[in-house]
Amino acid sequence: MQLEYFLLLAAALFSIGVYGLVTSRNVIRVLMSIELMLNAVNINLMAFSNYLDPGAIKGQVFAVFVITIAAAEAAVGLAIVLSIYRNRDTVDMEQFNLLKW
């Protein structure tokens, strides 16, 4: 039964991430929500790796790649947030309306 606990935790974390993604007004909080979703994916991968693939542990390798790329994505995301803040002086999603959705 252990595997299912981890998968349920991952599903819960993913759903929380989706909720934060949709409802947040602050851009930085949206970035945090995306990190939550990526962590949910990692828990999934690690749980599968431990219970279904304990010898080859490809899931752990996959998770390392996800961590690496999430860091790169966060760095690029914050660079973009900084440059938009410099021009617009706000981080409110509702204010970014130069381009209509």
Binding site: S15, V18, Y19, N26, R29, L36, L52, I69, A74
Partner: protein, 200 residues
């Protein structure tokens, strides 16, 4: 359930609960600084879960990269975008939030039903255990060599690009004519910005 399993189960409950509550705090609290620190707590409890899953190396990587780099980066972002911003109210925002909450609960229900009902093929193969780091290293230099090398290019370009975007351009027209000897070229612009903020 013997003692070891009992301890594992209790730590699973504690770590899982900690993770869920801090993640809820990240998305629900109104103060962004609290959210950032709770995000660190989420990352740490996730790395605890990894240790329960016999993955010490990834747990360490999780703490180093997520808490040490990503979270610090986010905190820096919050400090640089240092502005107490009162977001203007959007009418009937709660309707959207309730609908989103319902959809997310539905998503959780769907995935939850799927993972509990699926007959997972639990493997009985011998576990890598403490040799996990060796196995991971072998993967990196055999069947995952291509993504490993590609990731290095990706990191290089992300580095270059992030610097290009975040670097403040030297704008000669904004620099005050007489500069003191030891001030940085961008100093006057900072002072102007700070002055504006004080007036608010």
């Amino acid at each position: 359930m013997n003692l070891a399993e009992g301890v594992q189960f209790v730590s699973l409950v504690i770590l899982g609960g900690l993770m869920i509550f801090s993640a809820l705090g990240v998305v629900l609290l109104s103060n962004i600084v609290y959210s950032a620190f709770l995000l660190a707590l989420t990352f740490i409890s996730v790395s605890g879960l990894y240790i329960l899953l016999n993955a010490g190396f990834v747990a360490a990587a999780q703490v180093l990269v997520y808490v040490g780099a990503v979270n610090v980066l986010i905190l820096f972002g919050i400090m640089l975008v240092n502005k107490v911003e009162v977001f203007s109210e959007v009418k009937n925002a709660w309707v959207g939030k309730a609908a989103t909450g319902a959809v997310c609960a539905g998503l959780f229900g769907l995935i939850g039903t799927m993972v509990t009902s699926h007959p997972w093929a639990i493997s009985t193969a011998p576990a890598a255990g403490d040799k996990a780091i060796e196995v991971i290293g072998q993967h990196f230099f055999s069947d995952f060599l291509l993504p490993f090398e590609l990731a290095s290019i990706l990191l290089l370009v992300a580095l270059v690009g992030a610097i290009v975007l975040a670097r403040r351009e030297f704008l000669p027209d904004l620099v005050a004519p007489q500069q003191e000897a030891l001030t940085l070229p961008e100093r006057p612009r900072e002072l102007v910005a700070a002055g504006v903020r004080d007036e608010d």
